[in-house]
């Protein structure tokens, strides 16, 4: 294979460059460059101009190629958005299951094409609404789910045999997934038909999002159970959504997001291979979840690099043969941390730019943040504007008319190469530490992220980085926005509902089922069938999680800053 450029052009190019640089010098002598340093959101320095010189070795077939072909730089599917647009999947969850169900129906009516569930903090941490740990948190930043009845109410009237559902749930992912399977089966829908995603990515919890329950090792063991079970029983389900989103929100750079996420993916793949599974059986059901931050080209390059890196990792490191195992399919959420409480309507514009980067980067599904998300759970109006933003990009802007329109841009290709190179360096460092679990124990990713976050905040405070409405173009008068309030009474209502269900169920059956779960945990059997049986008998989320906590122990935050 040969490079993209005829070697002869570089001589001419050098001459033109020298001429341009002389003229440039004159221009800057008259008026100096606007900034001392031009750098991305992640503080990567960017050059004045990109030419074939920075991508001298670029090889079309090897590095860019065609969508649907190795190394998938331009997209996983051959057709990309010429065939089907990305799934517009708005993350939603508030109050009770009934409240969230109403929001789901509204979003589907407004043209959303997939569901995405946000759970409240007690649910995310494996506690029922009546736990003392849950005081003041019920239904606040997502929906409260205690029992199968809540799950049935959540999906009431929604065609879960046809629409796919994503659930952002981690320590109790096996339990929530079991409830979803139970809802389907109680409706007469085969578990082999249902499609969706559980986030189920514990490694990034220890690194960044910090909803944890059991220590890292048993956490990965339960995840491997779900991977094994999904491969055999629920073939249309994405068993893990390997997430960089939260790593970025915690303050990482784009390259760190890329590296830590793929390193997590390597750890899950290795764990399943070590279990004796064939990589080509389970890897096609791994999906990814990235952040789309404000630095437009850096994000696009990140998505392109991620696809190419994962394809290489799967093919070369894990000897996967099925092209579907090489695919890095991903969901994107625009960066919550880029939104500002000041002048909140500006957030619509930030989100639109971030969404556009995700689309130009070839995302499979997308959540766009609402303008008020920095203040509270979005109102229906704000969530609708966010969805409309995607629809305008999809159906008015024309950016989906051709596949990977930025492919071949000197700048984008150079940035893609550089991010791949830097991210692989970090992955090698993690390999040298003994893999991601060992790296987490040494607090390596946690510390790197904390350093990057502090550096970024200092740059803002020192005015080296502009945040419109915060450290520049500040206004005294704030335009008020409507903020959604969650009724404090809700906690009482939810606790009463859960208590009623707990009183009415077959207690002996529940006890037996929980013992089965405990047996699977300590004996090494797959937890999924026992957990499905337990939730069908109306064991609560916390009751199952308490079994996990008892058998596996609890993880406490080391409190490093």
């Amino acid at each position: 294979m040969s490079g993209l450029f005829d070697k002869k052009i570089f001589d001419d190019l050098r001459a033109s460059r020298e001429k341009w640089e002389q003229e440039l010098k004159k221009a800057f002598d008259a008026r100096p460059e606007r900034l001392e340093r031009f750098a991305t959101v992640s503080d990567q320095e960017i050059e004045r101009i990109y030419t074939p010189e920075q991508v001298r070795e670029l090889d079309f077939q090897r590095d860019i190629g065609f969508p649907g072909q190795f190394p998938f730089t331009r997209g996983c599917q051959p057709s990309m958005y010429r065939g089907r647009l990305w799934t517009m999947r708005m993350f939603a969850g508030l109050g009770t299951a009934k409240d969230t169900n109403e929001r789901f129906h509204h979003l589907v009516k407004a043209g959303q094409t997939g569901l995405s569930t946000a759970f409240d903090m007690p649910t995310l941490m494996g506690y029922d609404s009546d736990s003392p740990k849950a005081r003041g948190e019920c239904g606040k930043c997502g929906v409260a789910i205690d029992t199968l009845v809540d799950m049935e109410d959540l999906f009431e009237g929604l065609p879960i045999d046809r629409i796919t559902t994503s659930m952002t749930i981690n320590p109790p992912a096996s339990v929530i997934w079991a409830m979803y399977i139970a809802v389907a089966e109680n409706r007469g829908i085969d578990r082999r038909i249902i499609g969706g995603t559980i986030q189920n990515d514990m490694l990034k919890e220890f690194i960044a999002q910090k909803t944890f329950m059991c220590p890292p090792e048993p956490s990965v063991r339960v995840i491997t159970d779900t991977v094994e079970f999904g491969t055999r029983e629920v073939p249309r389900w994405n068993t893990i959504s390997i997430s960089g989103y939260h790593i970025r929100e915690a303050g990482s750079t784009a390259v760190q997001e890329l590296a830590f996420t793929l390193a997590d993916g390597i750890a899950y793949t290795q764990a399943a291979v070590d279990r004796g599974l064939d990589v080509d059986d389970f890897a096609p059901r791994f999906s990814f979840f990235f952040n789309s931050h404000l630095d437009f080209f850096e994000e696009i390059a990140k998505f392109r690099a991620a696809r190419r890196m994962w394809a290489k990792i799967m093919k070369e490191r894990f000897s996967a043969k099925n092209p579907r195992s090489w695919w890095l399919r991903f969901h994107t959420q625009t960066a919550g941390c880029s939104l500002t409480a000041q002048q909140p309507y500006n957030n619509v514009v930030r989100t639109a730019l971030e969404a556009l980067a995700a689309v130009l980067g070839g995302t499979q599904s997308l959540h766009t943040n609402s303008l008020d998300e920095v203040l509270a759970i979005p109102t229906e109006e704000a969530a609708t504007i966010a969805l409309r933003t995607q629809q305008i990009i999809a159906e008015e802007s024309g950016v989906g008319n051709t596949i990977d329109p930025l492919g071949g841009s000197f700048f984008v290709e150079a940035l893609t190469n550089r991010m791949e190179e830097e991210a692989f360096e970090i992955i090698h460092k993690i390999d040298d530490m003994g893999g991601m679990l060992a790296a987490i124990e040494r607090h390596y990713p946690q510390q790197e992220i904390a350093d990057a976050a502090y550096h970024y905040q200092r740059q803002i405070d020192e005015g080296k980085r502009t945040v419109v409405g915060v450290n520049k173009y500040v206004t005294e008068e704030e335009i008020p926005v409507e903020v959604l309030e969650i009724d404090e009474e809700l906690e009482k209502i939810q606790i009463e509902k859960t208590n009623r269900i707990k009183n009415e169920r077959d207690q002996v059956r529940v006890r037996e089922c929980l013992e089965q779960v405990g047996g699977a945990c300590s004996g090494g059997g797959n937890v999924m069938e026992p957990v499905i049986a337990a939730v069908k008998a109306h064991a609560t989320l916390q009751e199952v999680c308490d079994v996990y906590r008892r058998v596996f122990g609890e993880y406490r935050d080391p409190g490093i800053y």
Binding site: M125, D461, Y561
Partner: protein
């Protein structure tokens, strides 16, 4: 020789909320400004925070919440400090706190609330202006 000791600050994360980017940045900023800092780590109940604050003999507690439970967790912390006779410990808070909740929180004894976008220098300077060491060397 007697004299005022260095101000000791506890940065605390009450409740189940895992958003610790802000709390950890603020802990560093206080440390860099020369204060003694104790960071509780995540998922603390108000009871645990108050007990630790008394044990660590801190002069101020900075509470951080980004998941909407501040209306319960912040006043509960102040209430427990009163019960223990330690309400000379100054309590302030920060995070995603809607403007309309701020008067109620202040009435409940939270001395200041810092919302998103507040520069670190403002948060750090507030300590110098509002907190005195409770004990001597």
């Amino acid at each position: 020789m007697t004299g005022k000791r260095r101000i000791r600050i506890m940065v605390a994360k009450p409740g189940l909320d895992g958003h610790d980017r802000g709390a950890r940045i603020i802990a560093r900023a206080y440390r860099d400004a020369g204060y003694e800092v104790v960071y509780t780590g995540l998922h603390q109940t108000p009871e645990e925070i108050v007990e630790a604050a008394i044990q660590e003999d801190v002069d101020m507690i900075g509470l951080s919440s980004l998941a909407g439970a501040h209306n319960y967790l912040f006043p509960r912390t102040v209430e427990l400090l009163k019960e223990k006779g330690a309400d000379d410990i100054v309590v302030c808070g920060g995070g995603i706190i809607p403007d309309e909740d701020i008067p109620t929180l202040k009435a409940a004894g939270i001395r200041e609330i810092f919302t998103p976008g507040t520069p670190l220098d403002v948060i750090v300077k507030w300590v110098a202006d509002n907190v005195e060491p409770r004990g001597e060397y």
